[in-house]
Every structure is written in structure tokens, then in C-alpha cells.
């Protein structure tokens, strides 16, 4: 088991480097010139060349890449030989072409917003979705089931950029029911943090909840007809215990694994939700970075996102062994 874990981690790390390499390569293939972007339209060729030199993008691809990788472990100095070398402490992800800020600092500053959004929304949709799905399965065919199914269909067809604006307009702007979503650190004030994130949480959760409800319902319907649920019932166990412990447990494995993957992806930034509610997280950061061809920032957000997705995959793999004893490679 341990060997398996080591092997998977090693694969994950290799994968991360491949992702960085590919991103680097794709960026190099784009015809637009970041120097021109930084400079505005008046740039003389000389100035643009100087900018490229300062950004170190006039170096060959492999040099740039190796310097970048080295900078992850060792402090990096841009323009070492010149009058004003810039120091970038390890792990160095470079300086934003647009704002000159240290990319690592920017990521650190923006990450809590994204984490808050991801964790809050995902918990809401997991619990809400599973409960709704369970209720639906247990009352199959009845009104409750039909209502939940319609709700699931309706909300899973909606898009954030529609709901976001509608919800903002109604709850925040027109009727002042909820304050404007802003991010306040939970270490400052938990109540303000929750109030500020409530609308984005609910909006994001509502759409995903639908999918989880359907998934749970399908899984539950299957396990409810399994022999072991019948055994539990025939052994006189209480209904709640049969439904939650025995039936749900049988159905939960795919749900938890999908949840892990969803959460991992969300940690990379929920771009549309963050944009719609003006949250300054990794999602909006990556959007701005791509739009502005800000390579260091793009690499930074890609690594950030890739890291979590790869981690999530790793954890989900391990989790599978924990959830399904038949998969374990012990004994």
C-alpha cells in the first residue's frame, strides 16, 4: 500500500512538471507579443527589445524553462549582470508582466478567497445534494421525488452567469436582502466572512447540488434493492440505520470520489462565479492573466490549479481503497 502511494505521488509530481512544460510551450506558440502589451502602442522597437530583455523572454525556450524550474527551488535573480537585478525568492514563479508583483505573493493573497468559495459551496452541495437524493430515492414516484427531480433538471441546466446576475440584481441590488458579496477573512470575522460568501456559495452550490441529488438518487435506488439492505431490514435494524448506514454507504463511494475531483478542480478557481460576484480569487486572476498574456501569472495559476487537481486525483485514489475494502491491497 505504501509503495503504491509513493509511486502515485511520484507520478503526480512528474505530471505537474509536464503541465508546466506544456503551458510554457503553448504560450511560446502564441503570436502575440507580451512586450507590446506591457508597453502600449507607442513603443519603439528598442524599448520593446529592452522590455523583453528585462522579462527574460528573449532567451531561448529551454533556458527560460530551466531557469524557471530552478527558481522553484533556489532564489532567482532576473538580469543578474545588470545595474538592478531583481530578486525573486524561492519558490519563484516570476513577476507579473502586467503589475510587476511577485506571482507567489499574488497567489497567496488571492488563494483564501478561492478556498473559501470552494469549500463552502462544495460542502453545501454535497450535504444538500445527498440529502435531496436520499429523500427522492426513499419516496420514489411520490410528489417529493418528482419535485426534487424537476428541481435537479432545472438547476443543472442553468448557468452561473445567468443565475449570478439575476440573484445579484434581486437579492443585492434591488431589494438589499443580502449585502454585496465581498471576501472578509474568517480570521477577522466569521460572521462577515459567511455573510460575504453566502450568495456565491448558494449560487454555485445550487447548480451543482442538482447533479449530486441525481447521482445519489440513482445510487440509492440501486442499493435499496440490494440484498444486504434487505438483510439489514430483516435483522430488525431501525429504518434510519438501514437507510443511512447501510444503503447510503453502499451508494456513497462514487459520490465521494466525484466530489473529490470536483473540489480539486474548484480549488483552481471557479472563474465564472468569482467574476460574476467580483470576488478576487484565483479564478479571476487566471482569467485576467490569460487575457493580458501575462505569462508568469498564467504559469502560476496553472500550476496552482494543476496541483490541486492532481492532489485531488491522488486523494480520491487513496480514498477508494478506504471506501471499498475489496480494492485494498493488504493481506
Amino acid at each position: 500500500m505504501f509503495k503504491y502511494f509513493i509511486k502515485r505521488t511520484a507520478t503526480a509530481v512528474v505530471l505537474l512538471f509536464v503541465v508546466v512544460f506544456v503551458t510554457f510551450g503553448l504560450f511560446m506558440a502564441v503570436p502575440a507579443d507580451p512586450a507590446k502589451l506591457s508597453c502600449g502602442k507607442t513603443c519603439s522597437e528598442e524599448t520593446k527589445a529592452n522590455i523583453r530583455h528585462a522579462m527574460e523572454i528573449d532567451l531561448p525556450f529551454t533556458t527560460q524553462y530551466t531557469r524557471f524550474v530552478k527558481g522553484l527551488f533556489v532564489d532567482r535573480y532576473y538580469n543578474k549582470g545588470s545595474q538592478q537585478p531583481r530578486k525573486c525568492e524561492a519558490p519563484c514563479l516570476g513577476f507579473s508582466f502586467r503589475t510587476d508583483e511577485n506571482v507567489t505573493d499574488v497567489l497567496q493573497r488571492r488563494a483564501p478567497t478561492t478556498f473559501s468559495l470552494a469549500l463552502g459551496a462544495s460542502l453545501i452541495w454535497l450535504i444538500g445534494g445527498v440529502l435531496l437524493g436520499m429523500v427522492s430515492a426513499l419516496r420514489r414516484g411520490k410528489t417529493v421525488d418528482k419535485v426534487v427531480q424537476s428541481f435537479a433538471l432545472f438547476f443543472s441546466s442553468l448557468q452561473i452567469y445567468l443565475i449570478g446576475w439575476v440573484v445579484s440584481l434581486y437579492f443585492v441590488i434591488k431589494h438589499h436582502i443580502i449585502p454585496t458579496p465581498t471576501y472578509v477573512s474568517p480570521f477577522e470575522s466569521v460572521s462577515k466572512w459567511a455573510a460575504g460568501m453566502l450568495l456565491p456559495w448558494l449560487t454555485l452550490a445550487l447548480i451543482s447540488m442538482a447533479g449530486y441529488a441525481r447521482l445519489t438518487r440513482a445510487g440509492m435506488l440501486e442499493t435499496l434493492s440490494e440484498d444486504y439492505v434487505r438483510t439489514a431490514r430483516s435483522n430488525g435494524l431501525k429504518k434510519g440505520r438501514v437507510q443511512f448506514k447501510h444503503a447510503l454507504r453502499g451508494a456513497i463511494t462514487p459520490i465521494i470520489t466525484i466530489f473529490g475531483l470536483d473540489l480539486g478542480a474548484l480549488m483552481g478557481g471557479a472563474v465564472i462565479t468569482e467574476s460574476t460576484f467580483g470576488l478576487k480569487g484565483i479564478g479571476t486572476l487566471s482569467l485576467e492573466a490569460v487575457y493580458e498574456l501575462d505569462l508568469p501569472l498564467i504559469i502560476g495559476t496553472v500550476i496552482f490549479g494543476a496541483f490541486f487537481i492532481i492532489m485531488a486525483n491522488l486523494i480520491v485514489d487513496m480514498l477508494y481503497a478506504a471506501l471499498d475494502p475489496k480494492v485494498r491491497i493488504t493481506k
Binding site: 506591457s38 502600449g40 507607442t42 530583455h53 538592478q84 503589475t99 445579484s168 441590488i173 438589499h176 467580483g278
Partner: protein, 588 residues
């Protein structure tokens, strides 16, 4: 979609400044062109109803690009940046729409000598940094010198204009204060005149409008001991009415009063509010809704960019609904940009065909596809109203629908009816509709017209290319860098901009020696009335004599402000003016 530019586009290539200064001091004028006041003093003219106090909000998507004056080149940073720094000269707004050139750090508008190759400005006293120390000529020279960092290998201060380098002498090979800390910028020198400091500029060639160039942010002061290089953007040391309390790029910025600022020294800034609160990264649709509802941050807020820049197309029907709101708390009026159709005279060689196009074009139909009235007001001039060169002349027909009959008359005289191609960017759906409208109106006159969509990433490159693939017809828009015809006609129609492989801003590919001479003469003319007449003649030549363009409409700007805010429109920034904004009721 309006094709407004957020950044004022300049093309001051090294050859431009070949203007001969013949006569002496410029004079305040009334006939055409901008007014000049050589003796302006503070306090600045305030809008009616101005009271002191309160916090003004700004809520928007994009942040200011750079607050560092040496790196500032777009209208947003010029508008807000000048709350933190002042330039040598500046444009004063009087609250009634009149623009006047005045001295800002300078107490006068400069005195040219040596045929216009030397300019001397007297500096004001009493301008103080946020720590109480006085702003000196040395500070101003240092600030101007930072522009030359662009020439350094390890350039740090990117993004600013390069006007100073193109205009001012630099015999020592100065490359900015970081790369060449011991070298001196020879073209700028400080001196005294009696009890006041003076600053003198030695230019590469004579420039009649140099004192307009000194309104650019490059001509701001930076104190050497407070210069933090690349981080100065976040830590601008202020000598304006406000200073930075906190700034996180793309997140939020708070400005509070600089207690050392003296209103008596400042003819530009009213600085009524106590605090400026900027929140960035906000969704545009939500922000727009805040203004429509006049709630939350919008109540004390002003918008910076034009509404149509941030929010998709606003059709006439929606405008009708918004109109009453704008009347109460918005600006809905002309901005300094003009949209026109450029005809490539190198490819569409038959003058009659060009004149036919001018007559056949149904400008009203085209405008309707991009939003109708909200897109702009019809014009027959390339210059915006109030700038020299503007005249209410006629292009071909008095009706914006065009004159098909007259077009056919010209078509009858056309020798070979070659097919012409109109190119457009495929970025938006309405660009396609616009192209179709153009095609239909020209076809009615018998003109053989093909429309060709170009991928938006390649569009501007295609516009510039020469040779067989050079486009015949294309839409273009332009706004002045500073309110002077010299930043409109020459940058667009000088023959040296037309190359064999690429062309600069001269999209009509006009290589006319007569026109070149007319423009040079007009730029050199110091008598405002004569200058105006000269520019009108230039305009008529371009539009009527050689039919190189078809002016279409002067663009319009829609700007929100909250119900608790008083503000005026700043044409240079194409936005609400930050220097004179005030909160009506500071207690709200």
C-alpha cells in the same frame, strides 16, 4: 459596438516634430481651438454646489494600469493620477465645457525662443510633497528623466509615452536614472529668475505646441529619495491634493488628503471629497445595475469608462428607458472620438469611385446596427467639435442616409468599375451587421463591393499591410492626444507613414505632397484664427478634394454618476473628471 479606444493613440514618430515656429508668444483666443491662459492661479473653478467632504467611490472591473506618472499612458491613469501628481502644464475645465491650457507646476504656459527650439517655464512656489517639503525643479527634471529608462537594457519603467525622448535633446546618452545614474539629461536644465525657479528645454526641432506636450504625465515630478522603481506604482509619493493610504493592484485603492496641498497654487483641482475609495475586479453588469438602481456604492460613485465600453450594446429602445436616468445622474454627450470610413487611395485610384462611395454610404443605417443614437452623432468632420479643423461642412449629401442618385452620377464617370473590398473584424456580431449594411447601401449605387471578415487577432495587422492584400475600405476611429488639430491630421495623413510593406496610422494611404505642406504650415501657425482656417482647409482637402475618407459620426459617451455626486465630463479622459468631483451631501 463602439470602437472607442481606451488609450489615446499617439504616433509621434521621430519625424513629426518638424514644425517651424515663426512668431512669438501664443495668445489666448476665442476663435476655434483651445483657449490659453498664461496667468492662471488657484483655486480651481468649482462646479456649482460643490461642498467639501465625503468619500467618492469608484467601482469597476479594470484597475488603473499605472499610477507612476512615468508609466502612465491611458486616460484612466491620467484622470486619477493627477490627484497624486501635477504636470508642467495642464488643461483646465471651467465646469461649462470650456478647456483652457494653463500652467500646473508652471506658473505660466511657457515662453518659446530660438525659433521654438527652446522653451522656458517659470515654476510655481508653494507646491509641497506629502511630507511638507517643497517640489523643486530638480524633482521635475528627475521625473522627466525617468522616461529615458525605456532605452535601458534592463528597462523597469514600462508603459509610459515616449514623447520626451522624441522631442528633447540628449547629448550625453542619458538612459534613465537607474542605468546611467551619473549622466545628465542635457536638454533639461534648471535655473532661477528672480525668486522663482525656472526650467528650460532644448528641443531637437522646433515645436509650436510643446507646451501642450507638457500636459503629458511624463512631465511630472518624482522625488529621487522616494523613487522605489518598479514598486513606485503602488507607492507614488504625492504632491497633489491626495495621497495613497493603501493600494493592492486589481483589488482596491484608498486615497486620502495630502494636508500639504495648497488649493491656492492649483488652478486645476478642486479636491472637494476627503477620501477616494476604489474597488476593482467588479462585474460590469452588476455595477451597471447598481447605477441604474442608484444604490449601494453607486450612490456616492462615479463611473470611469464609458458605459458602452463595459456593458454590451445598448439599443435605442433601452436608451429611451435609461434617458431620464441619465438626465438626472449621468453624462450623455459627445466625446473626442470620431469614427470614419477610410478609403485606400492607393488601391481605389479613381476619384469618381471614391466620391461615389462618399455619396452612397448610408451612415444612419450603419449606425443603427451598432446601437443607433448611443453610438454617436453624425458628423462631416474628422475633428471633434470645438477643435480646430472642425466645420459643419457637407461631405456629399445633407442627409445621413446618403444620396444614391448623386452617387450614380459619379459612377457614370467611373472608368473601370473595379470591385472594392471592405474588411472588418469578426470579433462581434454587430460588426458583421454593420458590414452588411455598408454593402447594401453601396450596392444600391452600383458599386461592386465585397465584404471580408478578418479574425480579430489579425485585424490590426491586416489594416496595416501593403501590397495586393491591402484593404480597400475599412472603418477607423481616432481621438486627439491633446486637444489640438496637430494630433489629428498629421498623425493620420502624413505621407511618410506610408511604407511599401506596412503603413502606420495613415490608413487611407495618402501620399500627397500638397497636403503635407498644408499640414506643416497649419501646425506652424501661431495665430489661432489663422491656424483654424488653415486646418479647416486641410480637412476640406482630405474630405472633398481627394475624398480619402467618409466621416461618419462623433462618438458619444455614456457615463454614470450617483445621485449624491456632482461631476463634469472631462473630454481628454473621456470620463467623469476626478479633479472637480464632489459629494453633494457628505453625511450620506
Amino acid at each position: 459596438m463602439k470602437r472607442t479606444r481606451t488609450a489615446i493613440v499617439a504616433v509621434l514618430a521621430l519625424g513629426t516634430a518638424s514644425l517651424i515656429m515663426t512668431s512669438v508668444a501664443p495668445v489666448a483666443n476665442a476663435a476655434g481651438g483651445l483657449a490659453i491662459n498664461a496667468k492662471a492661479v488657484g483655486p480651481a473653478p468649482a462646479l456649482a454646489g460643490t461642498v467639501k467632504g465625503g468619500t467618492v467611490n469608484y467601482t469597476g472591473k479594470s484597475d488603473v494600469n499605472h499610477l507612476d506618472p512615468s508609466r502612465c499612458y491611458d486616460t484612466f491613469c491620467m484622470n486619477i493620477g493627477r490627484l497624486l501628481w501635477r504636470t508642467l502644464t495642464a488643461i483646465q475645465l471651467d465646469g461649462k465645457g470650456k478647456q483652457t491650457l494653463v500652467g500646473d507646476i508652471a506658473s505660466d504656459v511657457g515662453t518659446p525662443s530660438n525659433g521654438g527650439k527652446t522653451w522656458t517655464f517659470k515654476l510655481r512656489s508653494g507646491i509641497k510633497w506629502q511630507d511638507g517639503q517643497p517640489v523643486t525643479c530638480a524633482d521635475l527634471k528627475y521625473g522627466i528623466g525617468r522616461t529615458w529608462d525605456q532605452d535601458a537594457d534592463s528597462v523597469v519603467l514600462t508603459g509610459g509615452t515616449s514623447y520626451p525622448q522624441a522631442t528633447i535633446e540628449n547629448t550625453a546618452g542619458f538612459k534613465g536614472p537607474y542605468a546611467t545614474p551619473t549622466k545628465d539629461l542635457s536638454g533639461v536644465s534648471c535655473g532661477t529668475s528672480g525668486s522663482v525657479e525656472t526650467i528650460t528645454f532644448k528641443l531637437l526641432t522646433a515645436a509650436g505646441d510643446f507646451n501642450f506636450q507638457t500636459t503629458m504625465p511624463n512631465y511630472a515630478a518624482v522625488r529621487k529619495d522616494k523613487d522605489t522603481g518598479v514598486n513606485y506604482d503602488n507607492q507614488v509619493f504625492s504632491y497633489g491634493p491626495y495621497q495613497i493610504q493603501s493600494r493592492i493592484k486589481k483589488d482596491k485603492t484608498i486615497l486620502v488628503r495630502n494636508t500639504y496641498w495648497d488649493a491656492k497654487t492649483d488652478p486645476i483641482r478642486v479636491a472637494a471629497p476627503d477620501k477616494i475609495d476604489m474597488l476593482l475586479g467588479q462585474d460590469s453588469v452588476n455595477t451597471n445595475n447598481l447605477y441604474i438602481e442608484d444604490t449601494g456604492r453607486a450612490v456616492n460613485g462615479i463611473a470611469n469608462g464609458p458605459l458602452t465600453q463595459n456593458v454590451p450594446l445598448i439599443y435605442d429602445s433601452e436608451m429611451d428607458a435609461l434617458q431620464p436616468l441619465f438626465e438626472k445622474r449621468g453624462y450623455y454627450g459627445k466625446n473626442p472620438y470620431v469614427t470614419w470610413l477610410a478609403i485606400n487611395v492607393q488601391k481605389v485610384t479613381d476619384l469618381n469611385l471614391r466620391k461615389a462611395i462618399q455619396c452612397a454610404l448610408n451612415v444612419e443605417g450603419m449606425r443603427a446596427t451598432v446601437g443607433g443614437k448611443s453610438a454617436g452623432d453624425f458628423t462631416s468632420s474628422l475633428a471633434p467639435e470645438g477643435i480646430a479643423g472642425y466645420s459643419k461642412s457637407t461631405v456629399c449629401s445633407t442627409s445621413p442616409k446618403g444620396d444614391v442618385a448623386k452617387a450614380k452620377e459619379y459612377m457614370a464617370k467611373v472608368k473601370t468599375n473595379k470591385e472594392v473590398t471592405f474588411v472588418y473584424s469578426n470579433a462581434t456580431k454587430d460588426a458583421e451587421n454593420e458590414a452588411l449594411s455598408l454593402q447594401s447601401s453601396l450596392t444600391k449605387a452600383g458599386i461592386k463591393i465585397k465584404i471580408k471578415p478578418i479574425d480579430s487577432t489579425e485585424y490590426y495587422t491586416i489594416l496595416e499591410q501593403q501590397g495586393a492584400d491591402a484593404p480597400d475600405l475599412m472603418l477607423y476611429a481616432w481621438g486627439y492626444d491633446w486637444p489640438n488639430a496637430s494630433t489629428i491630421y498629421p498623425p493620420l495623413f502624413r505621407s511618410d507613414l506610408v511604407g511599401t510593406d506596412v503603413v502606420g496610422e495613415n490608413k487611407s494611404r495618402v501620399t500627397d505632397k500638397t497636403l503635407d505642406a498644408m499640414m506643416t504650415k497649419a501646425a506652424a501657425e501661431t495665430n489661432p484664427a489663422k491656424a483654424n482656417a488653415a486646418w479647416v482647409a486641410v480637412e476640406k482637402y482630405i474630405v472633398n478634394t481627394i475624398a480619402a475618407v467618409v466621416p461618419m459620426y462623433q462618438d458619444k459617451t455614456l457615463l454614470w454618476r450617483g445621485s449624491n455626486v456632482g461631476a463634469q465630463y472631462n473630454p481628454i479622459a473621456n470620463s467623469n473628471d476626478w479633479a472637480s468631483v464632489y459629494i453633494k451631501n457628505p453625511k450620506l
